[in-house]
Symmetry: C2
Subunit: 312 residues, 2 copies
């Protein structure tokens, strides 16, 4: 088509992919084009502003590498990640709620036994974590794969340190026969998401702060159950009501008890203050016959679009 | 706020930037969040799909450098660039229409005199271009700054060649006292936009071709007139009705006459076939007292958002 104008361009752009043979991709790109065009009309976007937006996305792309994912930060801070989490995690009452995945997960973290110290040298006061994995009826879920990751007391994940040689504050363990698990780590603190890049500039320009309340990340998987991606938050944290990425659920907040130096839950003697926390994770039954809508990087469903979208 | 859900998250995300002190940025980001969230709800975006989209944008960012702007290609191929051009270039009848800027403009191209060969060694049959710059009443516009850029006969701009040492097929000249100008170049051909990257994969997945009809780019500026960014297209090109970036206007199509070897318009003898084309560019009067909504990279209006948005 020639002579497209502001009234006809959306229809014509959609007609261009009329013949796409992946119906899901076609549906998604139809919506992308409709909303992108509606946005430009809505705000009467100027040519300068379009190029500023393009420069912003370019900056986001250029700061992103295998250790820093600024597009995830952007999605998180615009509320898109939590919205998608909410849309895809309708669970029966009583199940542990899901929350955002975040940009700091690393696959294949070190395997630990119950009782081990997953801090592996990360900075912070000791924290002793106990928990249970159960089903909705209270049945224990043994041998569940539990991945935990967290920031240190300075608010940094291991991957944020230049040349970080080892996994610190992250690990993989298994629930015991009774569904319980326990490990030692360090006490997480509230921290700002990385704000020395374009997303930080955006937050500043919008009058927003970059802080997240203290939390531990968990991803829990067991056969017959839906994978759960969630956090455990610390009661009393000053950012619980203004989390920069909208991830706080009341049901995920628990007391992190602080203890004076002395005997720890694992029987050792600790010379500094330490904390303890306990949380029960209730998994939803896996839907049978329905493709799992899971977390990034694992699901075989990924290929439904990726086969066309990416050429790996 | 805690416990945001799919119904409340948009309102809460907007409340987070309630205090932004740049009203234009606030309006734009409000619309960005509204449309981004509406898109996710509309297609019931899965978590996998969100991360595939993030990976796609990451790939777009990583292939983008100072010579290749894949985000501009993305904006162009989704029709966003042409829409924004249309929204910002309402001109009186009789004015030359604007079209997309594209990703291949380079500032500070070499200065040429009328009659010079701007090809500067670029590959292709010679092409002799004549034209005039006038106002709406037909008045000549002398000393207009005319920037021209184009692909060679293989469909590549100079900046697409690895280590391209010199500007080829681009230059800046001035209209003469009578508003006329003339230069020699090479005959542009239809070409595919760069499709060896993520945007090319997207077009393939959508069943779209990457071709643009043959064209010359022009950017023309003169005091008292609106800057004009446009193309001149070649009549008869097979892609005039399916331009990958939606840029064709009937009023911008002209005959590119092909000639057998012989005497060229500049009096020289040419041993190969060559072409000639002629086009009159009619500029709109500058609006007085209204901030210019101009092209990327130049307008001082840019700072209205950039001051907050970017920290240069």
């Amino acid at each position: 088509m020639r002579n497209v104008d502001e009234d006809t361009i959306t229809r014509i752009a959609l007609a261009y992919h009329e013949g796409a043979n992946n119906p899901r991709l076609k549906r998604i790109m139809t919506s992308v084009i409709q909303h992108l065009h509606a946005f430009a009309r809505d705000v009467e976007l100027t040519e300068d502003e379009l190029y500023q937006g393009i420069q912003f996305l370019t900056d986001v792309g250029h700061i992103t590498d295998d250790k820093r994912q600024e597009f995830v930060l952007l999605s998180d801070t615009l509320g898109l990640s939590m919205l998608v989490t909410a849309l895809n995690n309708h669970k029966p009452a009583g199940c542990t709620e899901a929350t955002v995945f975040g940009p700091f997960f690393v696959a294949n973290s070190p395997e630990y036994e119950n009782g081990d110290d997953v801090a592996n040298g990360a900075k912070g006061e000791p924290c002793f974590v106990t928990g249970r994995v159960t089903g909705l009826a209270g049945e224990p879920v043994p041998h569940a794969r539990i991945e935990v990751w967290q920031a240190d007391s300075d608010g940094f994940y291991d991957v944020q340190y230049a040349g970080a040689p080892a996994s610190q504050g992250r690990g993989t363990l298994r629930s015991l026969e009774d569904g319980s698990f326990h490990f030692r780590s360090i006490t997480a603190e509230s921290y700002p998401i990385p704000y020395d890049g374009p997303v930080g500039r955006m937050l500043t320009a919008l009058g927003r702060h970059p802080w997240r309340p203290a939390h531990l990340h968990f991803m829990i998987e067991a056969p017959g159950y839906e994978r759960l991606i969630t956090h455990v938050f610390r009661a009393g944290d000053e950012y619980l009501d203004s989390d920069a990425v909208f991830g706080v659920r009341s049901s995920l907040i628990t007391d992190w008890k602080r203890h004076e130096p002395g005997k720890a839950p694992d029987g050792t003697s600790i010379g500094t203050p330490f904390s303890t926390l306990d949380f029960t994770f209730v998994l939803n039954r896996a839907k049978t016959g329905v493709a799992r809508r899971g977390a990034p990087g694992r699901s075989s469903e990924r290929r439904s679009i990726a086969g066309n979208w990416r050429i790996d």
